[in-house]
Point group: C2
Chain length 296, copies 2
DNA sequence: CTGAAAGCGCTAACAT
DNA sequence: ATGTTAGCGCTTTCAG
């Protein structure tokens, strides 16, 4: 017929097939190197399957989460990958009403939801980090954490407390502090921790950004790392391997996590029966140059 | 009627209104902190207008660009923001056939296309950087560039050459080198440059990643920055402000660029007549600690 | 001002 | 094998 640039109308096809060939990705912040790596992995497998990826940035605002989910319903998205920060009863109802496959990324779905998740074992990884510090004979270990609303932050804190307790080491008063996810916050936290817990010889920071901020303060104070203070982080960001930093940290397979979550979602979409098997990735302790055995 | 969770079908509405209320964003790599900042800005304004953002990662692969553009046509996206690396005749025809508003982000559209762009003035910003080095009495200046296929890389290189020439300073043999966008590449480039141009006292690196890689090599060789070698970068990444780095560099308003491009697109969509006015942002030279006047 | 009908561009079911 | 028709869920138009 007309061989002159005719393009089928996918909207019409979607209407009759009740499939939009589009999946939604809801993230708090695409600017986070961690999340953008996962997003890249997701986009890769999704687009290879001929699907589109609609991306929504929530900025951790409840209202934005809701409006994304609502519009996902209206546009008949075929599936969702979400990193949600507000999973209460109302939100759960919204998700249920969607009646489409959903996988949680980096978050656990509430027990009553029966949806799969893809994440890394924050707890286990953090235990490993603290145990490493313990194996270096540190006994006065401080903790720089993330704000209370952060799921990953809570898990890593829980691991810190449990590991200390399991080894019969009391957590000193003033040994823990919580900040935001910024260099500045790590810097200030390290300063405050040093004041409130002077015996401290090591600190476990709940993420690399915080750890690097801490390192900055120590460098400014001419407190030598690792000779006078050992630091371990979590995330293994690109920057953590920089010559001046060489942070000992816990690595997670970021892009792979994204890809797996997308693959999981695609099979859920393609095979209606699919029994949603969550995936929990393992972490790896990357030993670099910010930890040393304690000086006896 | 039924007040029990009824959601209008946006697909049906799209079909009749010939509007998908969705715009497309085509980027080479969402993992690039620069691009993800822009993406965040775009998403913000787009979603505030009730639109969806479909994001496609091209990985600088021509085939992926084409397939994204084609599927944009099929799904009747209402507009596009693209960072394209392959704007030849065929690609231009694809864009024209779309018959929807398109804005180029961080790329110039070919003259025959009459589409607006949003970018920063790489040329002017780079001239400023080189002039700064010149004002510090450096005469033996090296250049670490990006690969030839990079538009921004070419502009920054052109600025380097022009500024040197304008000041009657010949560019020495072996004073320029080109790498990829990685710390590793900056590291190796600095090493090679030092060998091929031993008189060199300063280098302009076409981006911060390269500059930081160069700084790493210098630190390993115990070549003092800025006493023995001055470095200036381009981008003003978060990491460039780290205590150990404090890189003098050229800053660009990343998130704002994204927001402006989205606003531009939205007005093009809403007002059919719109006469597409491109936006060229200015850069700012951020002076930190990696440059010093030459030692006479 | 409210209500029925036509139609967007496709696919699937049906008839030729 | 090919051709015709109904209808997806809306919006818009036109009639009542």
């Amino acid at each position: 017929m007309k061989e002159l640039n005719y393009t089928p109308n996918a909207v019409a096809r979607s209407l009759i097939q009740r499939k939009s060939f589009t999946i939604g990705l809801m993230l708090p912040d695409i600017t986070d190197p961690f999340l953008s790596s996962m997003a890249q992995g997701i986009e890769e497998v999704i687009s290879d399957s001929g699907y589109h990826l609609v991306y929504g940035n929530t900025s951790r605002i409840r209202e934005k989460e809701e409006s994304f989910l609502l519009s996902a319903a209206q546009r008949k998205l075929d599936g969702l990958i979400i990193t949600s920060d507000y999973m209460d009863g109302e939100m759960m109802q919204v998700l249920r009403n969607l009646e489409i496959p959903i996988v949680f990324l980096r978050r656990r779905p509430p027990a009553e939801l029966d949806m799969p998740f893809v994440d890394v074992d924050h707890y286990k990884g953090s235990c490993r980090a603290v145990e490493y510090l313990l194996s270096l004979h540190h006994r006065h270990i401080g903790f720089i954490g993330m704000p209370d609303f952060s799921y990953t932050g809570r898990e890593r804190y829980r691991a810190f407390c449990d590991t200390m307790q399991k080894n019969n080491i009391p957590i000193a008063e003033g040994a823990t502090i919580f900040g935001e996810r910024s260099y500045q916050s790590g810097y200030e936290s390290m300063r405050d921790l040093t004041a409130s817990y002077p015996e401290m010889t090591a600190v476990f920071a709940a993420n690399d950004i915080l750890a690097i901020g801490a390192l900055e303060w120590l460098a400014e104070q001419n407190i030598s790392v690792p000779d006078q203070m050992s630091i371990v982080g979590f995330d293994n960001l690109e920057v953590s391997n920089l010559h001046w930093i060489k942070l000992t940290t816990v690595a997670q397979p970021r892009k792979e996590m994204g890809m797996k979550s997308a693959e999981l979602l695609m099979t859920m979409i393609q095979e209606k029966d699919s029994k949603a098997a969550s995936i929990l990735f393992d972490t790896e302790l990357i030993i670099r140059r910010t930890c040393a055995p304690i000086n006896l």
